[in-house]
Symmetry: C2
Subunit: 697 residues, 2 copies
């Protein structure tokens, strides 16, 4: 931890300074990173980010320099300090919700108020009556009540209907008894619960007069407002360390017959009439249902940026890093080669670079669709039946065609997008070679924190059933001769009409044909699955693997389509050269995906084997070569501040080695200890006495 | 951390007790897990494991209960205590090397003596002269010198020739000057160096009379033997936290013109004659070369067990865990279904279960090949030219056909096997749903520690060039009409003869045909690559992606072949039923791989599109159904003690929920702190005064 001696300070990295290398990279590309940034985020969004960044950097508590070193308890304590400060700034600066979101993105670490500020407040707002707003929401907004959303249990994750916690109505004193009958009924994984919250929205099986009415939300106080100790007959704590997300206190929670008053049951949609002791049926759950779709759409939108962090870091480092010589290089050019020039690196990073944009545009498309749907729904409220968290509209006989399409789309895309980001980040980490394994790469910790996205808000495998169910239903409708009502039924109908004459898509020459080929494959797989289910009467379980593939295929079609359509309308915002490169990125994403999924494309006769061969050995390789010179400029357009990336390898100025060395030698607390290395010596650290060793042995 | 109240202690998980569920699983399968274990590990190996396990469990220092909670410095301190104790036991009990290896596997955490006990001792032994053995090896064996192997640098990983550290010969005083001329020349990632070692084998560019002679090994003292402080002009420390491996002190090291005597250069193979000041050329480096092949073969052998830990944990938990109902289940059977019954879970876990055996048998095959080669080499020493660490025999004109084949095989299989294990572990973690993300799953920490295997001992992408180079060379030889000399040239030759008539492999009906189809595809890709390189004169760089695929294809062929051949000879050791299931696992591994890589198989005409379709929709699905009832018994045969797995989810007795709950509520130190949750309060933890918050803000 002491500063290095002068002779070490005098050392410089060998070769061309990395900052010059990146400058050269930037100079040789005509991509306009600035206008591309504006196209991605709008001028207003970019300004907002800079403004919030400046505020955060001015506060000592947000200093990141010890983030990678600290242990769990210390990290949690720091995260709590940050959460408090953030709440203070929010109030002091009268931040908008958008500014708060940007602040969270820049800080890039989950915090102990996370679930209070999202699910707790949202649930109180959306599912509470005006009276409940007064009683619960107001104090919660003022952080007098700090809450969480307690749904999943030790024994039940995705399957909400299987929850075991009960809320039994007591007609005598007009209360509910909240109870945990088994060990597996313990609430588990509940963010902000472990140490922070004093209230919880508890999802519990409502029981009236011995009859189960399904899971409903109850507001329950769990800790004393002064001492912060658990209330009587409440057992609550932190569930322990996780692969990531360790700045958050995910918790467990058990109740031993705790009584709460009638007002505790959030009653906007359903409730118990205290006079008749009868259940009041839900009028409409479409708003709740909409929230889930909105959450999934947000995941899709974020996935592009999540992946782009890894791609930015890996691309910059691979441009800076020189290793080995090109085997065929002429004698006069025998220096070590930039790693980014190797095709094995390009084939890993550049399709992912294209994917970042593909996912971003798809997410924006989803949000637009969601907005349109909300508008429509506000006119339709009352037509749609009740729906539970996690259940699809097919199961609840929802009528809205747009809603069903949006629901299925959000499920399929959430699954595809989050897996793509998760797997892509690991590819980026590996592309950084050995240094990718260091926490200072900034990729590993980010990956670890993002990972649960593949499981929460609907497990990525489970969700694909929703997509398949919707596609099968749409296919049945088309087979009956119904007119197409949306894009999904349109592509199914188109396939039906042309399947006999066959497809002849010019995927290598024509961009709209590429989109059509993806649509064709999706429709082909839909009708194949329908045949298995309806004609061959195969069991649902035996088809799950096919459904997963179908969902993936359909979602890839939507990504390709969104990317294509965004570029069609981009010409007014971007210059010709930048647009040209974006079109190449579109083709790279589409043709690389097509080649990866070759089997399904030729089986469906969407393309020929020869076309796939050509896509692989010629078109994709040529696109890599054409995009390579613009890679650094393209990641620049994502405009991540160094402060956000917190990565030695991904620095904008390329000073990779200086930064790695500085963090290791001057920030690393382990270098404070001097060990006693000999096996027979009882001392471990020379600073301690022999007691430490004794205690361990 | 306090024990839960009585009402919590009284709680039990709902449903059938998990231990009964696992017992039922074990009862319904006829697989003989016991004889399968012996077949995998031998009786002697199994006994050894039990013996060592008992010794370790008797020592308090090896208690694992706080492993997942402790921060880095504490974990490192504990790891040091364990390393010391292990060295003491080793000496006390006169352990064999095999017993020591088993102990490390059971402890399952890298330790500060790791590189001392492996690369430091091995290098001294294999590359030192008898005089150097006296001076360096003896004190090292007695832990008076504690060392490491300092090769990679901040700026150079795989490319050993690019190392920047210099060792300049001083004819006047017969010394070498070890020097770090740049920041990038800092040694980096060196295990056991950061805090522990007092000596290092330093790989440095030897310079004699201004002329570079390439990298050579030097033994250099770096810390004082008494104070353990760095010597003058040595700058050394720990490189900081990593994604995993945090019980190890990977270090950095810089020298400012440090003089070392003539004896410091390890001189078994080459050296400097102090009288003439001339370089003495290496006589033979085949033993060094052999070590690398041995290390890679070990990685292949271990990969099966590495993956099997994840598969064991996920399989047991998915058998115990019940979630959702089977959609088609009859009314009388409407309980929640075992997760392992869902085909989306089976398609992820069961092929990986098959893979664990495939890799294990392949590793054993590699070790046998290595043994045969060592025997042969001891007769051939002197025929083979010098080879550098990381360089292949093609580059050094090595003559031995067997050696070249073994080298290429070890490169390709190391790449395939370690990637398969890495990716498979993440699949297992996800198959555990939300709980897979908890450290208590045991998969995440294990994955994180194993991950660097994909990068070290040859980056998994880089290595595939060695395989391609060897296959191209073999193909050229076959094209010239040379007789096949080994299996590789035999399959290439066979392909050439039959290429025109084509293949008609009965992959769905005949096991040996499956192996032949894999060989055919590998040969097809080899000749395709050869055409690109030799006829079309395409650049090496443009072919790297094809080479990667080629290496993967060839390695998969070797795995399939090893699995097949092992089963051919297994009939005497295993009963009919167990052998039958093993054959099904072979088919599952082979056909699932074939289906995943379908594109290459049909392009090579090894199989038809229809066969692949059938493999996917019928054969593989049927195999899943047939293997499913034996899954728990099959993972039992890997015989991991619970102590080794250290996993709530993977417990042999299935008491998943009790164990999760116990660790969270009674072992978790975060539950000792009470937070002050309000944003405007300056206190963070109620135990501390307001100073803690103040310091953070």
């Amino acid at each position: 931890m002491s500063a290095p001696p002068q002779w070490v300070k005098n050392l410089k990295p060998s070769g061309t300074p990395s900052s010059e290398v990146l400058e050269q990279e930037r100079n040789k590309s005509n991509v306009n990173a600035d206008s591309l940034s504006t196209f991605l985020f709008t001028k207003e969004g970019r300004d907002r980010k800079q403004r919030v960044l400046k505020t955060l950097q001015g506060e000592k508590v947000f200093d990141k320099s010890q983030n990678y070193f600290a242990g769990r308890i210390d990290r949690f304590e720091t995260a709590l300090a940050r959460a408090k400060k953030l709440a203070q700034i929010h109030s002091r600066e009268s931040w908008t919700q958008e500014e708060r979101v940007v602040a969270n993105e820049l800080i890039s670490e989950p915090g102990p108020y996370g679930l209070h500020e999202s699910m707790f407040l949202i649930t109180l707002r959306d599912q509470g009556t005006p009276e409940q707003h007064e009683k619960f929401l107001r104090p919660a907004e003022q952080y007098k009540y700090i809450g969480c959303y307690a749904q999943t249990e030790l024994g039940h994750g995705s399957n909400v209907r299987g929850l075991e916690t009960t809320a039994t109505w007591n007609p005598d004193d007009k209360t509910f008894t909240i109870h945990s009958p088994t060990l597996t009924s313990s609430k588990w994984w509940i963010g902000s619960l472990g140490r922070t919250a004093n209230h919880a929205v508890v999802m519990a099986q409502l029981i009236i007069n011995g009859k189960g009415m399904g899971p409903h939300p109850f507001v329950v106080q769990i800790r004393d407002l002064q001492t912060h100790q658990p209330l009587e007959n409440v057992y609550v704590g932190d569930i322990g360390p996780k692969f990531g997300y360790n700045t958050m206190d995910n918790g467990y929670l058990l109740f031993n017959k705790v009584k709460v008053p009638h007002i505790s049951m959030l009653a906007k949609f359903s409730g118990v009439d205290p006079k008749t002791n009868q259940y009041v049926k839900p009028a409409s759950a479409s708003l709740v249902f909409g929230t889930l779709t909105w959450v999934r759409s947000t995941i899709v939108l974020q996935s592009g940026g999540v992946l782009a962090r890894g791609v930015t870091i890996a691309t910059r480092y691979c441009a800076v890093r020189h290793q080995f010589q090109d085997r065929d290089a002429p004698e006069w050019h025998k220096g070590e080669n930039q790693v980014l020039n190797y095709t094995t690196v390009q084939i890993r990073l550049l399709p992912l670079l294209a994917t970042t944009f593909a996912l971003h545009f798809t997410g924006k498309g989803m949000m637009a669709l969601y907005g349109a749907n909300q508008k429509k729904m506000s006119q339709d409220v009352g037509k749609v039946g009740g729906a539970q968290r996690g259940a699809g509209p097919e199961e609840t006989n929802a009528g809205s065609d747009l809603l069903a399409d949006l629901h299925a789309t959000s499920c399929g895309l959430k699954s595809l997008a989050s897996f793509t980001a998760v797997e892509g980040l690991e590819v980026c980490r590996r592309a950084c070679g050995g240094h990718g394994y260091s926490s200072f790469s900034g990729i590993g910790p980010w990956y670890a924190d993002y990972l649960p996205t593949a499981t929460w808000e609907g497990d990525n495998y489970m969700l694909t059933q929703q997509v398949a169910r919707y596609l099968l239903k749409s296919a049945r409708s088309v087979l009956k001769g119904n007119e197409p009502t949306n894009d999904t039924t349109a592509i199914l109908s188109n396939f039906l009409q042309k399947q006999d004459t066959g497809a002849a898509f010019d995927v290598l020459g024509n961009d709209s044909d590429v989109v059509a080929a993806f649509a064709w494959r999706s429709a082909f797989l839909t009708f194949a699955a329908l045949k298995h289910r309806d004609e061959q009467k195969r069991s649902w379980n035996s088809l799950l693997v096919d459904f997963y593939r179908l969902s993936r295929a359909h979602s890839q079609y939507m990504v390709v389509k969104n990317f294509y359509e965004t570029l069609q309308s981009a010409s007014t915002d971007l210059d010709v050269e930048t647009t040209g490169i974006m079109h190449k990125l579109f083709r790279l994403y589409a043709l690389h995906t097509l080649e990866q999924e070759a089997s399904e494309f030729y089986t469906s006769s969407a393309v020929t084997v020869r076309q796939i061969e050509l896509a692989r050995i010629s078109t994709v390789m040529k696109l890599l070569e054409e995009i390579r010179p613009h890679a650094v400029k393209l990641v620049d357009s994502w405009e991540f501040p160094d402060w956000q990336l917190d990565s030695s390898l991904g620095r904008y100025d390329g000073k990779v080695y200086e930064d790695m060395f500085y963090r290791a030698s001057e920030l690393n607390p382990l270098n404070k200890v001097t060990v006693d290395p000999y096996p027979d010596s009882p001392t471990l650290f020379k600073q301690n006495d022999a007691g430490a060793m004794k205690a361990k042995l």
